[in-house]
Amino acid sequence: MSMPDKDISTRKLSYLMAIREAMQEEMRRDKNVILFGEDVERHGGGFGVSKELWEEFGDQQVRNMPISENCMAGLALGAAMTGCRPILEFMFMDFSALAIDQICNEAAKIHYMYGGQTNAPIVYRCPQGGLSYKSAGAHHSQSLEAWYVHVPGLKVVFPGTPYDAKGLLKAAICDPNPVVFIEHKALYNNEGIVPEDEYIIPLGKADVKRTGSSITVIAYGYMLQFALEAAEKLMPEGIDVEIIDPRTLNPFDEECFFESVRKTHRVVLIQEACRTGGVTAEWGMRIEEECFDWLDAPIVRVAGEDVPIPYAQSLEEKVWPNISKIIAAIKNVCYFN
């Protein structure tokens, strides 16, 4: 499939609409692509992502589910093993915890356990994260990508732009194995250029969102927005930031990281999720293993605090990374004080 030139197209679409359009195109192409989830029919799911799909595709391809994540995930796995390509929407990624046995112990291992005789082409759509969703509290604001990144057999995808969201979701639906597709709730209304022509973004490929020479910043999800803004603020001070969005968190595009670090010699990694055991720890370690001799400064992370997300907005704001924390980290790594 050819990649349309996104610089030529001027059509703007929100992150939410880009996801909907990806599902729509795949459901039209293949009647085996089906959507499960709580309130996905008339209500369009928890955030309205699947609105109008039930009207177009009907009960055969769009089905409401009872509030039982474990049951939903088991059903999706059975459907996948018998020829469907289910898309399963969790209302909040936080509640995918109830389905984790089906996802991690069953779906992720099916292809391996059956010696390749069967497989589970499932997409788990998981809205997660905090930030614009003020006061959503400890159970509706988490960033849980690291849980799933740790499971061999699962792919984990997290787009940061509408363009990437559409292209990656189409690739995830086409993938023969389970994919955890993370959507950031605070990005749903963000607009960006999404060409009308069909395109797919292969999984496992990072994207250099901004080229620069002073430092490599690796950021994904909502953090990409912060990184881009920080980069613009640092430019007048002479710090030219290169920003990489891995887009797929597992398998991640380590060669892209290495190539950039061998150019800039400095790295800051940003994650919204709490620091300990985060995906950036893994990336930083891989960079250290492969690029040690190119480093001019310690590898530094900017991450969420290791606490449950507070309900009080005043506390909530302190938990997540922000632009000033990111700028401080970048300056520190560039010995710019």
Binding site: F292, D296, A297, Y335
Partner: protein, 404 residues
Amino acid sequence: MATEVYMPRLTHDMTKGRLLRWLKNEGDTVNQGDVLFEVETDKAVSGVLAEASGRLLSITYHENQEVPVGAIMAFIVEEGEEIPSMIVSMPQFNAEQISRIDHIPTEKTQYEEDNNQGSSSKRRLFVTPIARKLIRQHNISIDQLKGSGPRGKIIEADILQYLRQQENRETVINVAQSELEFELVELSEIQRITGQRMIQSATTIPQFMLEVDVSTEGVFHLREFLKAQLGIDISFTSFLVKATASSLKLHSRLNASLVDGHIHIYKQINIGVATATNHGLVAPVVHNADTLTLAQIQERIDYFQRQAGSKGFTLQDLSGGTFTISNLGMYGIDRFTALINPPEAAILAVGRIHKQVALKDDHPVEQQMLTLRLSVDHRILDGATAAPFLIDLKKTIENPNSIS
């Protein structure tokens, strides 16, 4: 083996000294006995001599730093030798080394205690991985680098800056050596010797300057008088030699040399007069100037002028000076600083005679003036001891009839 350059104990109670300046640079070839650096203690400024010959490397202290006694400040390394280690450690206090400069420590000092405590810990040099890689790649000596990162860490930017500097230096050298056109001029023997002596003067003698403005009206009238009455034409230089000799007699400490830590005050007053020749600058000497009459001095000065323009001076003419006068008045110079002619204690720089408005009895009058600037060896004299000489000389010039 590489020879350590360390901070000597210059006085029995010295624990540290301020490094005033290096007279040799990183990488310079030094000879045993060369002055390496100057140290200021609470008592004096001293030059510290090289104990060996070789290349001066690994300078770890910079100018104006306080350096503990016994601390290794650099190494003198012979051809093909390595600097002992990248990790610079504080040395063990070594009484034997200190005694070599004739100052035997008599009491246990704070430094010794500090040093004993710290002897097991080494100061680590931090270098980032990419900086290490570049150092290897470009074969850079780590001692030439200054770390600008936290804790003095050497970072990539330091290496890049160093490489840029090297590149600039090479460019400058290339321009100087290959692109600029030049005419080759060999130094005369006199110029070569003068050069060496001036290096010695500028780098080993701590010199300070004193300056006075002097009225020459009196001298002018005296010269007119002598010419009219006796038919003798006395030049101003001759008069100055006479006046200086007369003042030196009263302030003999300026008629002296520092020899092996002792001051030799000379009984003869032999005044050198800096004289330009075709071959360079010399200072023929008016021997025993204090005992000569003005007419005898004038004869000698006339002789100098004849010799300067023709066959030059004998060794006898040029030796035995105890004080030098350098007069650039005839070249139109208002005032200047002269470098001491080693091993003398001072030199007098004389500017041109010019008319100035001065106050006399609270009324402005036109006066002939000149400026005398005296450069003095601070190891032999200080401002308070040198000033009376210059003031006396001023008075003598302003009241010339007082000269005997």
